[in-house]
């Protein structure tokens, strides 16, 4: 693998890392599975591409993409909190509907090119005299690190702590006066805003928007979180946890680059990431089974020992009996 493709993978990792942060908010902090991701990621990309083509400033287009993502999150959030539809189903419904909407946004085309237009990445590339992918990496680093910092400070505030508490013990925080429905709604909006932002940045990087660009994004995100957890298991500080999910995303894209380098296709990554997530989720069960087997072995070892020692005690008892009888005899 060349340095170039490694740096490319790291750049992709930072850009997708913003999406992973979004998934982290719902999946890890709020403890709800929001599957809107696959749709809202593409919505962000589509809105960015179309508004950019309409001649708006690229940074403004990024904000519009985030706004569109926020609306996606709002829809899922209302389905879940107001209509009490299970979160997973609510997300799937929104995602399904978004496919049609995303096609409409893109003007009934499966993909739209923006290769001739100026973006934040081309701006950075000109400013620092860098190649396109390197400039994309810089953008990814700036945005993902600022998102980590913003989220870290938000989650540490009084309001943010009630978000964490909602994911941790909903009944308790409601008894302390927090409207947990609104917290979930807020979390889903914020999450999908970040996801759409990530999608918009990916469009800048790839220079085109594709209606299928969000396919499998949720699994990529979960895989990244899981990988991050492997590296940062010992840390309980949520700032580190946020960083670890971005880091996990970078590792994920490096693995992806390696896999492609080994001759597999990019599309194989969907299967590989699914397997990574399955292994990670099944790990506690594996560990438990191994533990049970070890306990079984230890117990049987212990039994053998006890059998031996009980033999000994029988002997000892006999010895004692004999000696006491003899002693008694001597006394008498």
């Amino acid at each position: 693998m060349t340095i170039g493709s490694l740096l490319g993978a790291i750049g992709q990792g930072f850009i997708w890392g913003v999406m992973v942060l979004g998934i982290f908010i719902t999946y890890k902090i709020l403890n709800v599975s929001d599957l809107t991701v696959d749709g809202s990621f593409a919505t962000g990309g589509a809105v960015f591409a179309i508004t950019l083509l309409a001649g708006f400033n690229p940074t403004f287009c990024l904000l519009l993409a985030m706004l569109a993502g926020g609306v996606c999150g709002l829809v899922t959030g209302i389905l879940h909190t107001k209509f009490k539809i299970p979160a997973i189903l609510a997300g799937i419904l929104t995602q399904l509907g978004l496919y049609s909407i995303n096609l409409r946004i893109l003007g009934d085309k499966a993909n739209v090119s923006i290769s001739q237009l100026n973006t934040n990445i081309t701006f950075i590339a000109q400013l620092l005299n860098l190649a396109h992918t390197r400039a994309g990496m810089i953008l990814g680093i700036i945005v993902s690190i600022s998102c980590v910092l913003l989220l870290y400070f938000l989650l540490g505030t009084e309001f943010g702590a009630s978000i964490r508490a909602t994911g941790n013990n909903e009944k308790m925080i409601r008894a302390l006066g927090v409207n947990t429905d609104n917290i979930k709604l807020f979390g889903m909006i914020l999450s999908n805003m970040l996801i759409a932002l990530s999608g918009a940045m990916l469009v800048q990087m790839n220079k085109y928007a594709d209606v299928g660009m969000g396919k499998g994004a949720i699994v990529y995100g979960l895989a990244s979180i899981v990988i991050g957890e492997v590296f940062f298991r010992r840390f309980s500080n949520f700032g580190i946890k946020l960083l670890s999910s971005v880091f996990g995303c970078i590792v994920f894209f490096i693995i992806r680059a390696v896999v492609i380098n080994l001759g597999l296709k990019a599309n194989d990554m969907q299967l590989i990431s699914a397997i990574i997530v399955v292994i990670a989720l099944a790990m506690p069960i594996f560990k438990e089974n191994i533990n049970i087997q070890r306990i079984g072995k230890l117990n049987s070892l212990n039994e053998m020992k006890q059998n031996k020692s009980s033999d000994l005690t029988v002997k000892e008892k006999l010895d004692k009996k004999i000696s006491s009888e003899m002693g008694g005899g001597i006394d008498a």
Binding site: E158, S162, N168, N169, A175, G177
Partner: protein
């Protein structure tokens, strides 16, 4: 002051499983009342608490606190008035958060939570420490410990402290020592009594333990089939014995069958 008027609640209305959980409940708790509630399973004790806390809505009737009608307020808006401790020690605290974070969350019960103010800012740390020290469990030295590392008894004591950290107009204890071993239970009950008496908190305590119901509080309520069948306070309550209560219990259980036999 808590005032319940004509509260009715029926579950599964119109089905074969129809059950009247609360049947015309009228109850006034005066400020500083420490009321123990006893009754068999399905007597309506928990439903009563759920109606007061807003977890379920009554079919009819009004709930008032300090003269304010809160019948239509959702659960989270009633938190301003009510502190709660649940039976399950796991339910009262956020396990993945520090002791200090839990206390800080509880200290803002029913208040607006700022998105710009850092929660753990050291302002209240000393206050939290002195409050924790009163529990006598050494938790004041473990502010940055995650609550999941505490035992059930420690967690319940912490929940009790959290629910009274900001004085509530009403404290509701739902069999809060039932899941603890006898020694821990008596420790938590002792703390409960101490905190309630020191701050003169109006309290409604559900219990299955008749001896606890007699030895704690200034008033006792017995429920059966959704009704309050016995309400005694002051010196009259002090004279009560477990035998009296058992007799009362058996009367309620046997009354319908006797009636059937005679009828």
């Amino acid at each position: 002051m808590l005032k319940l008027r004509n509260i009715y609640k029926t579950f599964h209305a119109g089905t074969i499983n129809e059950r009247r959980a609360l049947d015309d409940i009228n109850l006034v708790l005066n400020d500083g009342d420490f009321v123990t509630v006893i009754g068999g399973n399905g007597a309506g004790k928990s439903t009563l608490q759920n109606v007061i806390s807003g977890t379920i809505n009554p079919d009819f009737g009004t709930v008032e606190i300090n003269g304010e009608d809160i019948t239509k307020l959702p659960e989270h808006k009633r938190a301003k008035y009510i502190g709660r401790v649940f039976q399950d020690p796991m339910l009262g605290t956020a396990s993945d958060m520090w002791i200090e974070e839990n206390l800080a969350l509880a200290f803002k019960r029913g208040e607006k939570r700022s998105a710009f103010k850092w929660m753990i800012n050291g302002d209240n740390t000393q206050f939290f420490k002195t409050q924790l020290a009163k529990l006598g469990l050494g938790l004041e030295e473990r502010l940055k410990t995650k609550v999941k590392l505490l035992s059930g008894g420690q967690r319940q004591a912490l929940t009790l402290l959290m629910s009274t950290l900001k004085k509530p107009d009403l404290l509701m204890l739902d069999e809060h020592t039932a899941a603890l071993d006898p020694k821990t239970a008596s420790l938590v009950l002792g703390l409960t009594k101490e905190i309630i008496e020191k701050s003169n908190i109006t309290t409604l305590m559900i219990t299955h333990n008749m001896r606890d119901a007699l030895s704690y509080g200034n008033r006792l309520i017995m429920m059966d089939q959704g009704k309050i069948i016995f309400d005694v306070s002051g010196s009259e309550k002090q004279k009560l014995t477990v035998e009296d209560l058992l007799r009362k219990f058996n009367q309620t259980k046997d009354a319908p069958s006797d009636a059937m036999l005679l009828g």
